[in-house]
Symmetry: C2
Subunit: 162 residues, 2 copies
Amino acid sequence: MRARDLAEPFPTVNLDDQALDAARLLAEHRLPGVLVLDEAGRPKAVLPASQLVRLLVPGYVIEDPSLAAVIDEAHADRLCEELTGVSVRECLPRDAPEPAVADADDTAVEVAALMARTRSPLVAVVEHPAGPAARRRGGVAGGELLGVITASNLLHRLLGNA
Amino acid sequence: MRARDLAEPFPTVNLDDQALDAARLLAEHRLPGVLVLDEAGRPKAVLPASQLVRLLVPGYVIEDPSLAAVIDEAHADRLCEELTGVSVRECLPRDAPEPAVADADDTAVEVAALMARTRSPLVAVVEHPAGPAARRRGGVAGGELLGVITASNLLHRLLGNA
């Protein structure tokens, strides 16, 4: 069982996409986060849904939660305006870690070890045309994104024979 | 739109449940985490799927990832034995934060503010028979868990009219 067999399609956005579109994607698929790709199509970060919620809430409400109660339904409907014209790049938390990246040839146990070490809820799987040797030389550059392995999918496969 | 209207059913486990059962629950529902309740049925923590993956991987492999490649398929099938006889309580990371808890009467904006402040991907919703005043006096004690609001569900509802 290799990473290529475990990888599943996963919604991605680009750094210059609109944050509002990323939020709609997350909302539609009920995902806890979306994978962000850089200009070269490489996994750059994971944008959590909670970060987008954070951007919807006016700063004065985060500072003083008692003010949340005074925002009425009509205003709540306009919260999404906060995201209009904002790019995904501008939404990423400064401390957003780079996503964990596995090679398509990695075994399930290697993926699990990577996930355990990085405490990451998902691992991006990249195919390298030139194989693992090229990866060791050049990082993930030039690889093609095959999909994503989530922690729960990995559990599903590892426990499958239990 | 109140927290009670936003709350959705969400799998829960108890502190003394078997970790293997929690892992199966996460795997079956493809969830990034499960809500852990204490002896009184109060939200105690969120157990992330990545933490269970971490427990499946032998310590020497996390220390030295190159050893992961030497674990063959047959051994991979037995990884789940690592979880046998281990309780959820024993699996929780020591630094697991308490889950964010909203009152059933909180507005969507109050829930969003709570999520933003705690950077939590989900909020547990608790109904207090005696109302918000009792909550302020006594925390979440005595409340009944109505369900959970995930960040993506909240985005879905907040963007619903956009």
